[in-house]
């Protein structure tokens, strides 16, 4: 699991590896994020999520070895 920008600032780390039961979707990961990293709780529900470099949603199922990324709204350009 990767974090970027303010999300990384609030978790204090770039990457973390979690083991989750099969057929877990994104939504429980988002909840676990808020508990494991209290500082990110306030924006946890507003973070975008991507799986293997593609946007995903809370309902998307996570598969073994997937790279999940949580990040705030983008501000490139």
């Amino acid at each position: 699991m990767k974090f970027f920008a303010r999300a990384r600032d609030l978790t204090g780390c770039d990457t973390v590896t979690w083991t989750v039961p099969p057929a877990t979707c994104v939504e429980p990961l988002r909840r676990r994020l808020a508990t494991e990293f209290p500082a990110i709780a306030v924006i946890a529900s507003h973070l975008f999520v991507a799986i293997n470099g593609d946007y995903a949603s809370d309902e998307t199922i996570v598969r073994d070895g997937d790279e999940v990324a949580f990040f705030p709204p983008v501000s490139g350009g």
């Binding site: 990767k2 970027f4 920008a5 303010r6 600032d9 924006i43 529900s45 507003h46 973070l47 975008f48 999520v49 991507a50 470099g53 593609d54 946007y55 949603s57 990324a69 990040f71 705030p72 709204p73 983008v74 501000s75 490139g76 350009g77």
Partner: protein
């Protein structure tokens, strides 16, 4: 040609790279670091990217643009890391047969880049504070339908 770089963007090379005898029009857009944003003074910007995804998304944007306009060539370069006032943070170049296509396609690419490409900007204000820029009110995040406030 899509590229992320930590070096100053060579806008001349980018412009040349899209020129073509089949194209009657070339549009180059440059996003540059502004000194004042909403009344606050910027001294520098820091850009960060989820690089692999960012490159993919920019490639997808060009593919999307090609379905809407008869694009000859297109190129996007986004610079990362620390940038000073006036520096070029992003450059989009596109060539088409007619000028209106080039303006529309160029505008589409930069507008969409600011919505879907995972790059983030951190303001370094003159008062010493820093602040990640996250446009719009962080409503429910539905990719593709994003609330995005006006960006420079």
């Amino acid at each position: 040609m899509i590229q992320l770089t930590h070096d100053p963007i060579d806008t001349q090379a980018l412009t040349e790279s899209v020129r073509s005898p089949q194209a009657g029009a070339v549009v180059l857009f440059l996003g540059t670091v502004r000194e004042f944003t909403a009344g606050r003074q910027t001294v520098a910007l820091d850009y960060e990217a989820y690089s692999a995804m960012a490159v993919r998304k920019m490639e997808e944007l060009v593919e999307q643009a090609r379905t809407q306009w008869p694009i000859e060539k297109a190129a996007i370069v986004h610079r990362l890391g620390r940038m000073e006032l006036g520096d070029v943070s992003v450059a989009v170049a596109v060539s088409t047969p007619h000028r209106h296509q080039a303006f529309d396609a160029g505008r589409f690419l930069i507008d969409q880049l600011k919505i879907v490409v995972p790059i983030w900007k951190k303001e370094n204000w003159a008062d010493g504070t820093t602040e990640w820029v996250h446009p719009g009110s962080p409503g429910i995040a539905i990719p593709g339908v994003l609330l995005s406030g006006e960006q420079p």
